[in-house]
Amino acid sequence: MKKKVLSMLLASAMALSIVACGQSDGGAATTSTETTGTDATATEQAQPEATAEAESAGSSELTDGKFADTRSITVEIYDRGNDGGSDPENNMYTEYIKKGMLEEHNVEVTFKKVPRWTETEDINNLLAAQEAPDICVTYSYPTVLTYADMGGVIDLKDMIEDYKADTPNLWAWLEDTNMLWDKDPKTGSVWAIEGRRAEQQRIVTFVRQDWLDALNMKAPTTTQEFEDMLVAFRDNADTLLGKDASKMVPFSTSYDIGWRANNIITSFMDPKITDKEYYINGFDDRMVTEPQTKEAVRLLNKWYNDGLMWKDFALYGSGDTTEDDMIKAGYVGAFQHNWDYVFRNGEDSINANLKRNVGEDAKFVAVDCFKNADGKYAKWLYSTAGDRKIFFPTTNDEPLASLLYLDFISKPETIKYLQAGDEGVTHEVLESGAIQIKAAEGDAIQNSGKNIDYTITCNGTYFGDWDLANLSIAYGYAEADPELVDAANKISLADGLEPINVNVGVIEAEAGVGDTLSSKRDQIYDNAVVAAAADFDSVWDSYMSDYLSSGGQAIIDERTAKWAEYFGDADMLP
């Protein structure tokens, strides 16, 4: 009897599940009709339609830049989860944008937050659920391409041209370079618009000035002097740290060696590298496949085995604050990082913490000491073009309103307000006219430096005026000593290498392997650094061969072929 009841119950569960499955297909079927224009071929057909519509309705949709009826769009905004930050969806700056957009274009803006450090995964989920914001932004172009392949992204190629007259600020700020950076040389597709970088500084080396002073040393100017300094730090741990001597870390890094030892790696690079070689190996911005990188890492390996480096670096993942805490506590002698890293976050900045925790003199200063074969302090800069990728998913029903949004936030006065805020609240104007950023409170707090999360078309100090920006750059950090900022800025630009852009269309081999390869790259670096000196070569080679066979070689081959297709046997770009 019991069995019978149970089987009935199971049967009814079955029946129910079948019904439910039926419904779920039903659901899927309807969505599919809604989004018929979404597989790859269909998109291309759908585009001209959209353009036709745009042309017929065209600019007539707008009177004085305004829609007749209120439109609404959603915009992605990074959530950095800062302690005591402002609500990314609702603060002084979002209010400014919302108000401006409504007044100027009759468009209602809603912000949708996406966690900064898992942005790719989160945007994936939103796109998959057809709930992505109308304006999406990401640092990862492969993500955009993957969705474009699936028909999930609007091809902007005609739209940006058709609405050019309606978006003068956008074109003026981004220029053809950024607007058409991703234009496919064959099909002409534009899946994303690239933001522009107002600042090019990338990575510098920081050392503890007070430790140098305590040991009567000068700031190092060569690789050898840098090493000698680390040795001196290690050997004088008792003098420098007293009872905390065992916590001494002369040189600190993270699992991301390719970034955090970048000045060293770059100094080993062949200064006469051809554009071709740069392009072929350029898919990895940590240069792991460059031939000389191995020797740079051999040096790190020596330092590691000599006890000059942090032993635990590989155990902490992205976003972990252990290393920062160690630096702030004053246990670290030197490290490499973003040029303004020690100045960021006002009162919680590294230098402000050192001052509080260690003493008035304790501070990190930028130094330049890694010379390449030509005797230059070579270091890579960011390209001024090609920064964050802005794209519209196919679920975006308001492409014009979205373009108007981009136009609005590219206006010089918008950029100025978003970056500088209100006088007296977030900044003061100095006698020279320079803008001094000061620590803000509540709603006025900028969660990202220069509010770059809102100025998605502009990354870095601009204030709507280049002269003002240059004048103000040293004053851009609350609580930081302008002289130190200025010095770091100058060092970060000295002997800078300008990246090149080679647009030969999509490299098929790069699709879907980006994440795998970058995690494998970190494994090469990390394992090689901690290897016993005698095993260094075998460890490097074995991890490298795994990297190459997991897709690295395929990319190199395809890039080599594409280069030959477009530039023949030339070594440099025409």
């Binding site: 599940s17 993942g317 994440d515 795998t516």
Partner: protein, 313 residues
């Protein structure tokens, strides 16, 4: 069956349901859970055989190459998948060898304790780790075992020893991983055995004492045979899971220095599928994993029945 009997049984069913409907109502919720989160998603298993796109219906998407098996072939050509497969098997086997007996031994030991209060305290403490998430456990592990800042290594170094790379050397890492696994689970896992032990007829022990059996004899001849069916059922279930296993434990414990032994199928699927957007490939991997799991489950069940145990079917 003749008609009157059926009518009678229908009537009985009515009476039965009237009496027990509340229990079935309570069952409905978990069943609904299974339905929504386990059965309905199975529709999407077909992603493994299709050139999948997030946009549009899966029903209309074209089959992948090689009669739909493109992604299975790709998976087996993938270095990382082969590593992940090997690591999943190794780690799960080690877990089985060292982790499976631990709760049994613990239950036996607890059962022999005669101070009830002490026993209860020990039991409670042993259950606690089960309620910690792996992220927390990994943070604890870092605080204790990191080569530079870990407490254990600081002690070792202060005593003049060399730091032991518990978490940053492949062999040591496997040991730590298995060790923390056992630590987290042995207390909780012992509950089921303690319950089984409680069900053993005390007269058996009394009889054994009369016959002059000591503690170990009693454990060997009464307690262990008494909980054997429970052991077998749990063993079958662990074998069914030999290619499975959770995501959080390996994911929390992984670092770049040990990925060659630490990357398992679950983390591979996350990295390549969710982060790398290769949905078809990783669904194929997931399907393969499940099919092998079912195979192991059936085989273990079959063997246990052959050996005269009840099995789970």
């Amino acid at each position: 069956m003749s008609k009157p009997v059926k009518a009678q049984s229908n009537q009985k069913f009515g009476v039965y349901m009237k009496k027990y409907w509340q229990l079935y109502a309570m069952l409905a919720l978990p069943l609904l859970y299974l339905l929504i989160f386990k059965y309905i998603p199975m529709v999407y298993v077909q992603i493994a055989f299709k050139k999948y796109s997030l946009m549009g219906s899966i029903w209309t998407q074209p089959l992948a190459k090689n009669h739909g098996f493109e992604y299975f072939i790709k998976a087996f050509q993938n270095n990382d998948f082969r590593y992940a497969l090997k690591n999943t098997l190794t780690l799960n086997l080690l877990d089985l060898i060292f982790g499976f007996p631990a709760p049994i031994i613990f239950a036996l030991i607890l059962n022999e304790l005669c101070f009830t209060r002490y026993k209860k305290v020990v039991q409670t403490i042993a259950y606690m780790p089960h309620f910690l998430s792996w992220v927390i456990i990994y943070s604890l592990a870092l605080q204790l075992l990191a080569p530079n800042a870990g407490l254990v290594n600081m002690v070792i170094q202060n005593l003049g020893g060399e730091a032991i790379p518990f978490l940053n050397d492949e062999a040591h890492w496997v040991g730590s991983y298995i060790g923390f696994g056992i630590w987290q689970n042995f207390g909780w896992g012992s509950i089921v055995y303690l319950a089984a032990i409680a069900g053993i007829n005390p007269e058996l022990y009394e009889a054994a004492s009369v016959d002059g059996a000591g503690r170990f004899r009693k454990i060997w001849h009464i307690t262990l045979p008494g909980i054997k069916p429970t052991i077998v059922v749990l063993l079958i279930m662990s074998l069914g899971n030999i290619l499975g296993g959770g995501f959080d434990r390996p994911f929390a414990f992984q670092n770049n220095l040990v990925m060659r032994v630490a990357d398992v199928i679950a983390t591979f699927v996350y990295r390549v599928g969710i982060k790398g957007l290769q949905f078809s490939l990783t669904t194929a991997v997931g399907l393969f994993q499940s099919v092998v799991g079912v195979f192991f489950l059936l085989m273990a069940n079959w063997i246990s029945r052959k050996l005269g145990e009840r099995g789970i079917w």
